[in-house]
């Protein structure tokens, strides 16, 4: 059986990539993609801990499903926001969207 640590490594890597994407990419869609990666990294953790722990407790799986749902909602809202921003400002580059600046 594959040990738990492998899953954790995979998850950590995935999470880091996601985090990097979020912080470094300028395209808003790419930032969203990064967020997705981070969420799924968490999912892997959850499922892995469930599989290795007490199989009768469904908490890990339930949480993973909740994360799916949240992710789906987040993408739907996020993408529509991006489209709306694009219509208004003709750009999806995060740096150029600085209306909130002091």
């Amino acid at each position: 059986m594959i040990p738990l640590s492998w899953f954790l490594y995979l998850s950590a890597v995935l999470f880091s990539i996601g985090l990097y994407g979020v912080l470094a990419r300028k395209n808003a869609i790419a930032i969203l993609l990064g967020v997705e990666l981070m969420l799924n990294a968490v999912n892997i953790n959850l499922v892995a801990f469930w599989r290795m722990g007490n199989l009768a407790l469904m908490t890990g799986q339930v949480f993973a499903i909740i994360v799916f749902a949240v992710a789906a909602a987040e993408v739907a809202v996020g993408l529509s926001l991006v489209i709306s921003v694009y219509r208004r400002h003709n750009t999806v580059i995060a740096d150029e969207l600085n209306l909130m600046k002091w």
């Binding site: 979020v22 912080l23 930032i31 995060a94 740096d95 969207l97 600085n98 909130m100 600046k101 002091w102």
Partner: protein, 729 residues
């Protein structure tokens, strides 16, 4: 059908007639009066069946020998208040006259309200009909009587009235008696105010309802007292039960030293003072003449005022519970005093009235005073007897006066002079030739009222009252009642003379006309009773006639009481007084008024002097009440209770509290919040010196770039994680 079932059903036909007419048939006059008269007829037939079955029962009234039936009505804790019907000898004789008079009044109303006549030219609902113009075959225009616009409604109300009276008569307890009593109060209100668009009728209706209600609330208290003292309101269980009566007589009420029985009887009696228009609550009854004449007959003879006396006859055992047959108890003296005083007081007023119906109204009050007075001195049978005979002849007189007015209205329409009051006796005269049936029947009624010897019913009953007063030595009562009887005969003859005898004093009287058969037939029927009913109650030892016929009334009605009342011994003295006052009064009346010409003042005006306007204005009682009762009450209502107490005192306190709270609030705002918090701490210390500069400096951190915020977030997270790692784990 079982007699009890018939008794239960008696009030039903008129009640149903009321609902039928109100809800469905009020558009059709013929249908409405058919339903009304038909219902009265049904109840009449039922009543007669019950009455004659009662006659055929041996020892009727004693012990179980009555018709009675009851059902549980109100749950009161573990027990029930039962209500039901009961016919004992007293209610049987009352039922007899009630059924007859009601039927006659229903029939009479058909003619009185001009059924079959054309619709009026300018008639409005709420006003008496003013006449209609018709064109005959020759093209001549005539003004004739027009039909009452609210014809159907009249029969509906009359039906409800009859239902109320039947309920009262058949009930076996004081509560349903009170129900019937109050329903009649409502009907009197509705019917006195039948022509509601006339302000006088409207006010008279309210006066009638309110004055009788004064009595009613005391009666309600009496009922509550009686019920709580005995646990029942049934006649049989209280008035036919020596134990209960004895107990009530022994218990003190702690009020004026009266026994419980005395106080309850007096409270109930106040109800009668209102209902039977005894002094000092008599004021409504003369005004009640504003209603159509059949209503006057209904109220004054067949139903309402009789109901009041009937109730006192009912509670007679209670009234006399602590009486030992000699000196009158306090309660009885009060009753006797009120009755006697009312008898003489109303008689004096009747002498000076000009309105044909007002004279009769005061004579009713006076005659009811006779009955009450009789009850006050313990003359049970005499009161009951006078109640019955009076109902017959007074119904006759009222219907007769209605017939006269009707005939006069005919004359008024003929001449077209609407300023002539068709009810003023001074406008009449000589009507005996124009209206013979009305004249003869009215004469019979008037003689009965005066107590014309031997042939009239009124003589026998009134004589019995005087005989009782004599036999028990109540001299003051005897003298007062005799004087009242003298006055009665006098004003009755005055009325007859002014109305029917002599020559017509106006053109209208010349053109008066006999009324249709629907009106004269009831007069004829009632006249029979006004003559004949006295024969059932002739005292046994009366010279000549005594013993020819048994004193049926005495034996029959006497059985209602636990101990049959003894007949008083015969004495020629009261008989002599009776004869003297009746004949003397009649002769005097005829002599004084026989030669009165048109435009001449009342011959009494001069000899009576200032007394005459005093009598004519009814001893100024209306004015007295207006000033001492109505005015203060209105002031208490409009000014004191509402404006002063509610609006100023109570609301004033509330508003003061509210404004104090507002004042505290605005003070806090103006003297603390605004200067100290807002300006000093907020604007000066806060905004100007501290927070504004700090804010400006910190605002540099807002780059507006989402990723730089995120980096900040990650950095903080890492720092916190590191700190946790270092310091906790």
């Amino acid at each position: 059908m079982a007699t009890e079932t018939i008794v239960w059903l008696l009030p039903l036909p008129p009640l149903l007639a009321f609902f039928l007419i109100v809800l469905f048939t009020n558009k059709s006059k013929a249908l409405s009066h058919s339903i009304g008269v038909g219902a009265a007829l049904l109840s009449f037939v039922g009543s007669m069946v019950v009455f004659f079955r009662a006659l055929s029962v041996e020892h009727f009234g004693e012990g179980e020998h009555i018709f009675a039936s009851s059902i549980p009505w109100l749950p009161t804790g573990d027990t029930f208040l039962r209500v039901g019907v009961q016919i004992d000898p007293l209610s049987a004789v009352v039922l007899f006259f009630v059924a007859w008079t009601i039927l006659m009044i229903f029939l009479y109303s058909v003619g009185y309200h001009n059924f079959g006549q054309p619709k009026g030219d300018h008639d409005h609902p709420g006003l008496p009909p003013h006449g209609a113009t018709v064109t005959d075959a020759h093209g001549h225009k005539h003004t004739v009587l027009s039909v009452e616009p609210m014809y159907s409604r009249f029969f509906a109300f009359l039906g409800l009235f009859a239902a109320g009276m039947y309920t009262l008569v058949i009930s076996d307890n004081l509560l349903t008696l009170f129900v019937g009593w109050e329903i009649m109060g409502l009907c009197s209100y509705l019917l006195i105010g039948f022509w509601y668009a006339k302000p006088s009728a409207r006010n008279a209706a309210i006066k009638a309802f309110m004055t009788t209600r004064v009595g009613d609330v005391f009666m309600l208290l009496g009922l509550a007292y009686l019920y709580s003292a005995t646990g029942t309101l049934s006649y049989r269980e209280i008035f036919y039960n020596q134990e209960v009566l004895h107990h009530l007589a022994e218990t003190s009420s702690h009020v004026f030293g009266l026994s419980a029985a005395g106080l309850i009887a007096l409270l109930l009696f106040i109800g009668t003072i209102g209902k039977s228009a005894q002094w000092p609550l008599h004021i409504w009854l003369p005004d009640a003449m504003e209603g159509p004449t059949p209503v006057s007959a209904m109220i004054h003879a067949a139903t309402m005022v009789s109901a009041g006396v009937y109730m006192v006859i009912r509670i007679f055992p209670l009234l006399t519970a602590d009486w030992h047959g000699h000196d009158l108890t306090t309660a009885m003296s009060v009753v006797a005093f009120i009755g006697t005083f009312t008898a003489i007081f109303a008689a004096t007023i009747a002498v000076a009235q000009n309105d044909i119906k007002k004279v009769l109204a005061y004579s009713t009050i006076s005659q009811l005073g006779f009955m009450i007075s009789a009850l006050g001195m313990g003359a049970y049978i005499a009161a009951a007897f006078h109640l019955v005979t009076h109902a017959f002849f007074k119904a006759l007189l009222f219907l007769g006066s209605g017939s006269v007015i009707h005939g006069m209205e005919h004359g008024v329409l003929h001449t077209g002079n609407h300023h002539v009051d068709p009810q003023d006796m001074w406008n009449m005269g000589g009507l005996r030739k124009k209206m013979p049936i009305t004249f003869w029947t009215f004469l019979i009624g008037g003689f009965a009222l005066s107590g014309f010897p031997l042939v009239t019913a009124g003589f026998w009953s009134k004589d019995e009252i005087l005989a009782d007063a004599f036999a028990h030595g109540h001299w003051a009562i005897l003298i007062t009642l005799s004087t009242a009887a003298l006055l009665t005969a006098f004003y009755t003859m005055r009325q007859i003379t002014l109305t029917f005898l002599g020559e017509p004093r106006t053109k209208e009287a010349e053109h008066a006309h006999e009324t249709p058969w629907t009106m004269t037939l009831p007069l004829a029927v009632l006249a029979v009773f006004a003559l004949g009913y006295g024969w059932v109650g002739i005292p046994e030892h009366f010279p000549g006639l005594g013993g020819l016929l048994p004193n049926w009334f005495h034996h029959f009605v006497g059985a209602t009481l636990l101990e049959h009342p003894e007949a008083v011994e015969f004495s020629p003295i009261p008989l002599g007084i009776s004869l003297l006052v009746a004949l003397g009064g009649l002769t005097l009346g005829w002599l004084v008024y026989k030669d009165v010409k048109a435009g001449q003042p009342d011959p009494l005006q001069k000899p009576l002097g200032v007394l005459y306007p005093f009598l004519q204005n009814k001893w100024y009682f209306d004015e007295f009440y207006a000033f001492f009762v109505i005015k203060p009450m209105t002031w208490i209502s409009e000014e004191f209770s509402y404006k002063w107490m509610d609006r100023q005192l109570i609301d004033g306190i509330l508003h003061t509290v509210a404004q104090t709270a507002l004042w505290i609030g605005s003070s806090l705002r103006n003297y603390f919040d605004k200067p100290i918090i807002n300006e000093l701490l907020g604007d000066k210390l806060g905004a100007y010196w501290t927070f504004q500069p700090a804010g400006r400096a910190l605002s540099k951190a807002q780059t507006g770039r989402v990723q730089s915020y995120l980096i900040g977030a990650v950095a903080v997270f890492l720092l916190v994680a590191a700190a946790l790692y270092l310091f906790i784990f």
